[in-house]
């Protein structure tokens, strides 16, 4: 049986710009940063939660030919490539913090739902990021 999610990846257009956003704006921490030739294994992760890495991957050779990479980049910037969902204990405070740090691409301000309060933001490239503050009450078994 599988025990844990270890690495997931996010397509980005530029790794350095992605690192700046995910660490300095969103507040994640840098994980691995290893170079081999032209390849840079670069990950970010939730602070204090080592072992679940988000690999920042840029489309292109040698994995994809340039034409394929261009298609992927178009899809990223259309917002068609999925995204990440994080959990926080203070979503409204985080919203104010992100605004102070210059983040403007919010897809949704903090909004209350039956499962808690969540908000949405995009990274500089178009990837969707959701951030959820779970409701305090004990989780009820909903069908």
């Amino acid at each position: 049986m599988i025990n844990k999610l270890n690495v997931t990846s996010v397509w980005v257009l530029d790794k350095e710009e992605a690192l700046d956003f995910y660490v300095n704006k969103l507040g994640l921490e840098k994980g691995n940063d290893v170079k081999q030739g032209t390849y840079r294994w670069l990950t970010v992760r939730v602070p204090g939660d080592p072992g679940v890495e988000i690999s920042l991957e840029a489309p292109g050779p040698p994995v994809q030919d340039e034409a394929t990479a261009a298609q992927i980049r178009e899809l990223i910037t259309k917002g068609a490539m999925g995204g990440l969902v994080f959990v926080t204990d203070d979503v409204r405070g985080l919203y104010e913090t992100l605004k102070k740090r210059g983040v403007t691409d919010f897809t949704q301000e903090p909004t209350d739902n039956f499962y808690g309060t969540d908000m949405g933001v995009r990274d500089p490239f178009g990837n969707a990021i959701r951030i959820l503050q779970r409701k305090k009450a004990a989780p009820e078994a909903k069908a």
Partner: protein, 150 residues
């Protein structure tokens, strides 16, 4: 060239996000086009080619999806919901709802209960689908002029 396409896509996506964020408010296509820093005509044309439907139709489907959500999740009256999601007349709302969903709001409410899934996933994946032909025709933001739009 590719870089230009990417930057333009990103600007159109920002304008689309603005519609998702402010669907309940009165929106006009010029204001939304301004988010993407393009003219109204260029915005409608390029939005359609990138996302496969006109901005007006995107907004109408967002508003109808949100109304479906409120019909499922709340006890608010259909007239209240109509205004909650940004329509300015009950007649337009009912006509648009029927056109997009295929049944009247009251019938939809009778047939559907709440869905225990995060709102963001509901917003993304339960926005009613529509045939491409209709998606390509609707180009105006004004509810009253929608039917007459090219």
């Amino acid at each position: 060239m590719s870089r230009e396409v990417e930057e333009f896509n990103r600007r159109l996506l920002r304008a689309r996000d603005a519609m998702d964020r402010a669907y309940a408010e009165p929106l006009n296509v010029r204001g939304v086009a301004a988010v993407a820093h393009v003219s109204e005509a260029h915005f409608i044309r390029s939005f359609r080619s990138v996302f496969g439907e006109t901005p007006h139709r995107y907004l109408q489907r967002r508003r109808v999806e949100r109304s479906m959500f409120l019909l499922r999740e709340t006890d608010r009256s259909i007239t209240e919901i109509c205004f909650d999601v940004g329509f300015n007349s009950r007649g337009t709302f009912s006509r648009m709802f029927r056109e997009i969903v295929g049944e009247a709001p009251s019938d939809y409410r009778m047939g559907h209960g709440p869905m225990a899934a995060p709102n963001c996933f509901q917003m993304a994946f339960t926005r009613p689908a529509l045939s491409v032909g209709i998606a390509m025709r609707s180009s105006s933001f004004g509810d009253d002029t929608a039917a007459a739009s090219p």
